[in-house]
């Protein structure tokens, strides 16, 4: 039985990939329908996968509570919040009900916004800690960063009008050069990685084993 499934995995990988490739350049209603169906199924399978995650999270925190570890109060808070959301959502049967929007807007929105906004603070400390001229390479990197600062903040133009125009030169020459090459490389690399997995050479992304 297990050998059937193991062979089945490789067959699924190959056949599904071929369906999507042909669908991309060949116009055929059956092909298109199959691809759309497969795509929709994946979303449903992923929804089922969330059960695995929620189970794993719950088990870990129940264990912490059982052991009465240092993190016990926090684990209780986590489980309480999680089940509050689940129960509110399932009871009101909608994610746009006033009760659900209330907990969503008062917990998830501000906390996510705070975390997102925090990255500017980390840019500040990284500028101090990491943008140092340790080598010629990092000198180039920090000089480019400096010139873009001149360009973006109006105040530098007031200090000396040459500063932003220097920034503009760096901007025009550097901004798309490196990125274009990286993007081409990523496209080719995706093909390599995809091929290796589709032909069954790299098994790790399926969980390795055997």
């Amino acid at each position: 039985m297990s050998i059937v499934f193991k062979k089945g995995t490789s067959v699924v990988l190959f056949v599904v990939a071929m369906i999507f490739f042909f669908d991309y350049f060949w116009k055929d209603p059956t092909l298109q329908g199959t691809a759309t169906n497969l795509n929709n199924w994946v979303v449903v399978i992923a929804a089922f996968a969330l059960g695995l995650g929620a189970y794993s999270l719950t088990v870990r925190h129940v264990q912490i509570i059982r052991k009465r570890g240092m993190l016990m109060p926090y684990s209780i808070a986590l489980l309480v919040t999680m089940f509050t959301f689940i129960i509110t959502g399932l009871v009101t049967h909608s994610i746009s009900s006033p009760e659900y929007s209330f907990i969503y807007n008062s917990i998830i929105v501000p906390a996510s916004q705070a975390l997102y906004g925090m990255s500017s603070f980390f840019i500040a400390s990284a500028s101090y800690r990491a943008l140092r001229a340790k080598s010629y390479e990092s000198l180039v990197c920090l000089a480019a960063a400096m010139f873009i600062l001149f360009l973006n903040a109006p105040i530098f133009g007031v200090i000396n009008p040459i500063l932003p125009s220097l920034g503009k030169i760096v901007w025009d020459t550097s901004i798309s050069t490196g990125m274009r090459a990286i993007l081409i490389g990523i496209g080719i690399g995706t093909l390599t990685t995809g091929l290796r997995i589709i032909i069954g050479q790299d098994k790790a992304p399926l969980g390795g084993g055997d």
Partner: protein
């Protein structure tokens, strides 16, 4: 019926795939085995795990916040899982504790399997603790990153690896890891986060470096050959760009018209 504008895609994909697969075939039959330089990033990973083992502090790993079925970063996640297999083996061998933080539930079963297999392979299956070695946090990027940051502080990790797709949370994780004093190796194909990771991490695999590193780590050394196929594809791109630019200078749009077919 062929869809208009997709012919160039078909030709490019076919040619590149043919090159990669034939190089792979040649090298696996030992007819032509290309010599691939070891990527400095791999040495950096090894060093970081070694240092963590010396200090007796754990190693943390994140395979990214995108799914297995992402339409843009699926290969990125896959490469991160291949590198995870290597990191798990190395840390089992050197005896440092590994903690893997997972954001996407679809990645969770795979990562668990990868780490479990690697530990068994190194003869230390008892070091894999269910729900503890591979920890699920949250599919939401901010829920994930806050948990990951908290974990790094509480466990005092000595080495942190960020592979796979990370969005804006990359900077949060990497800068906090540096506060703890962890050595960091990162890699991503998300071009908007690359500059941030490059500046804040000790070593960064830029874009396709990550794919090449994943291929380089395949257990069978002969199969590294496919990386040479990748190089050849790139050389073709360079040739197209250079010839195309020269033709454009003389007023011919031949190559770009061909590519738009």
């Amino acid at each position: 019926m062929l869809i208009a504008g997709r012919l160039s895609w078909l030709v490019v994909t076919l040619i590149f795939s043919a090159i990669m697969l034939s190089i792979l075939y040649l090298s696996s039959k030992k007819i032509y085995v290309p010599v691939i330089r070891e990527h400095p990033g791999i040495a950096a990973i090894k060093d970081a795990i070694g240092r963590a083992a010396e200090m007796g502090r754990p190693v943390s790993y994140s395979p990214g916040t995108d799914t297995l079925y992402s339409t843009k970063y699926a290969a990125d996640t896959a490469a991160a899982l291949t590198i995870l297999a290597y990191v798990a083996k190395e840390s089992a061998r050197m005896g440092s504790k590994l903690i893997v933080g997972i954001s996407q539930p679809t990645v969770l079963p795979v990562a668990e399997d990868v780490v479990r297999t690697a530990f068994t392979f190194e003869g230390k299956p008892e070091e894999y603790v269910e729900e503890e070695t591979v920890q699920f946090y949250s599919p939401d990027q901010w829920g994930f990153s806050s948990s990951y940051i908290g974990m790094m502080y509480r466990e005092k990790v000595a080495a942190n690896f960020l592979f796979g797709e990370h969005a804006a949370e990359a900077m949060l994780i990497s800068e906090n890891a540096s506060t703890i004093g962890a050595i960091q190796v990162a890699g991503t194909t998300n071009v908007y986060q690359l500059p941030l990771l490059l500046v804040t991490c000790d070593y960064c695999l830029i874009g396709e470096d990550e794919f090449a590193a994943a291929a380089y780590l395949s257990p069978d050394p002969v199969q590294k050959g496919i990386i040479f196929g990748q190089d050849l594809a790139k050389l073709i791109c360079i040739a197209l760009i250079v010839i195309g630019s020269i033709l454009v200078t003389f007023g011919s749009n031949l190559i770009s018209n061909l590519l738009k077919m």
